[in-house]
Symmetry: D2
Subunit: 148 residues, 4 copies
């Protein structure tokens, strides 16, 4: 496994406070369910407002939590006084996102001074079974002077 260098002992508070200001995460009912250095999981429960035309989670929801999970995984390793911006991401939607719960597991693949590369795997399912429904590769930027 990869061992990361932690630059902010208060990383957890910083991540949770910033997440709390992402009003869009509240709007879709998303919550952080796991947080460790370089690792953030974000989960979201099924509700009618989040569906596409076939009744599954909309790809936009899947992408949104994949992006936030990876962004906060990156931020957890940043220095205090810096913020995170998503530069770009690519996502493959490998199976329909159906079930009661969607969970995105964001992980830092390669931390860097300017750019941090992350992966997010998104699983959909019910209590007893989860299926990989999306996998994403994302580039996050450490923005000095950005309050996060």
């Amino acid at each position: 496994m990869i061992a990361f260098t932690l630059r902010d002992p208060a990383y957890a508070e910083r991540v949770r406070a910033s997440f709390g200001r992402q009003a869009f995460m509240t709007h879709i009912g998303a919550a952080i369910v796991h947080l460790a250095p370089g690792e953030v999981d974000i989960s979201c429960l099924a509700k009618p407002q989040l569906t596409q035309q076939h009744g599954y989670f909309h790809a936009g929801v899947t992408s949104s939590i994949a992006d936030s999970a990876a962004g906060y995984a990156a931020l957890s390793l940043f220095e205090p006084g810096t913020g995170v911006l998503t530069t770009e991401f690519k996502i493959n939607l490998v199976a329909p996102a159906r079930g009661q719960r969607l969970i995105a597991r964001g992980r830092v693949v390669k931390p860097g001074r300017t750019l941090t590369i992350c992966r997010s795997d998104v699983y959909a399912g019910d209590n007893d079974a989860e299926t990989l429904c999306a996998t994403a590769l994302l580039t996050m930027m450490q923005a000095p002077g950005l309050s996060d």
Copy 2:
């Protein structure tokens, strides 16, 4: 310019009906503002629920309308009795998405029997000025037997 073959004379009704069933588009306040064969623009007005931690549109909103605009641009060229699925997409967020309005312009780049490649450019701004804030490349799949 590219001339597309239209396989469904009722494409506009089909696209609008399917879009109407994407509850997530309603949830974020998105609407189709342009529709032609191989072309769909989707717009969304700023509101607090759509923001990330710095007050801009969340990348998830940008991605969601970029994805739906491209998906419906593709569907407009599909045969009746087929549906559209997003296979994958990649998006570069090139500037902060700030302003009163976000608009995604989805365009078919290369139609195909199984896969249709699209581009979506997303602009943010106010009435008088628009800035490119994201550009995406997307792969859509024509799914026979899927009711859209």
Copy 3:
């Protein structure tokens, strides 16, 4: 781990024969160094003809072996009488590709009837140490009737 269904007992011969017909792999000196269902590693030794302007492996070489490794990982799971086509891929170049050897480890993430999603991680280095220099996400298509 993922268990894959093998549809062609002669998969290894088929992969090696097809790889042997990829003249470009010979041109860059690439060879298959690991082959199992859903898994192919392709390696390439440093030589002046493969460099970019700073003397490292050119991103094109990195991408080429990442692509072929993933394509053959996919082909290893396909039915006899079908061929493989790369639909699209995304690659993050996370560190300079320097050293004596470059190795791409292609792995199937999600097999499918039409599309198979793969990952390729590329490592650069010498005998004693390897560094991740690129990570890619790729979509492969099973093409019936294509002789591979």
Copy 4:
């Protein structure tokens, strides 16, 4: 159209000199055939060494010239004393790359102090007809102190 700010009057010499040091471009027979601020076209003629198993240009060749064309389009706008690194790219291979010639047209989409976003469209064909065979979206980084 986009008007770019030129920061190095000697950009053309700088691009050509750096390209001349990309031994891999020589190895595949690639040449710059168009050069303007923010725009570089790279062409490559068909030969047996560049093929994949069906006799078309290998996706690695397509990707290699797409990458170099975009990288040099970016470098043409950089300040003297900086170099260019490919951060990541995504490419869709939309048609078989067959014919006598492959040409990648790299264009800057959004220049930036750290990151410059580019597009590369690759066409394959003979004298009288060209077909789009690939379209790519790429992120280039301006590296201060890197001699290019």
